[in-house]
Symmetry: D3
Subunit: 68 residues, 6 copies
């Protein structure tokens, strides 16, 4: 599958915090932490767990920029 | 200023493509390209240009994950 | 690839309107039109054109509901 | 009320899973399931429950596309 | 129509800047400017123009917070 | 820090509802309530509590419009 999303980074799951509806997944991407909030249903469907290799995906329209 | 957004990565602007309403900003983050689509008005207000240091910001709820 | 996004619908591209930065892609999903606004860069990278089979993807946190 | 959002699909609520802050609402749209993650406060304010007719709304900028 | 979106503010259109695909609409909400980037197709479908009364709508999951 | 996000409104926290993963923060902005759904991790990191001054931030691409 080839996605329209411009940002796709390879990483490894560092931890999963599960809630009733939502879950928080922390991913290590080249030494930096990326945090994703997805549904707990998706965590279960993908079987996400520590150590798993994942791709972090972000649509370009969701990326803000800041300067000092 | 301290932001609620969980993902904040330092990078350098590699290029700006300006449209009438939207602009596309490519940022180098530790050797990886991150693409941001923001308004052309924001590009002008921040004075974004090649070589500038920026912070890439993404809210955790905007991050998708994928497995092979 | 298996995505965390909960909503993935099969469809066929009905039309592409290209701008400088953004593009609008209209997809027929079982007789209903779904409109996607992605970067023109992604339209070119995926080679999107009328008649092509695509999957429409929407993260659950991006779905609003309304009642009459 | 007429909304700017390009994607508005009629459906029927199949189920509601309530958390403390967020809730997951599954909607049947012409035989396909659409999942929405909204606040539990909105579920209560709209009185969402199984069998209810709802409109699923998605802004075009939130729609990703994929090809095989 | 009653929307799940938690944030709905009444305002008046101050200006519309039209691009090929996207448009920028500036809305005055109680003396403060709110900027919306929607498709040019939606601007035309709603007939948005200066002086028009509109409701600005933002899903709670799209709102970031910052402290000094 | 100067943000690309076009919408930045000053307000005061009226209440915080904490869940396991997500939290809901209600902010008073000039007499109007704005609701934000962010991770509970961000609420703790920013130390958000009633009475605190915050800035509400919304990217222009996340703002929908409606007319009667």
């Amino acid at each position: 599958m080839k996605l329209s999303a411009r940002n796709q980074l390879k990483g490894t799951v560092k931890g999963v915090k599960s809630g009733t509806v939502m879950a928080e997944v922390v991913v290590d991407v080249g030494g930096q932490e990326i945090v994703s909030a997805i549904t707990q249903g998706s965590v279960e469907r993908l079987g996400l767990a520590e150590g798993q290799e994942v791709t972090v995906i972000v649509k370009a329209t969701e990326v803000l920029l800041a300067i000092e």
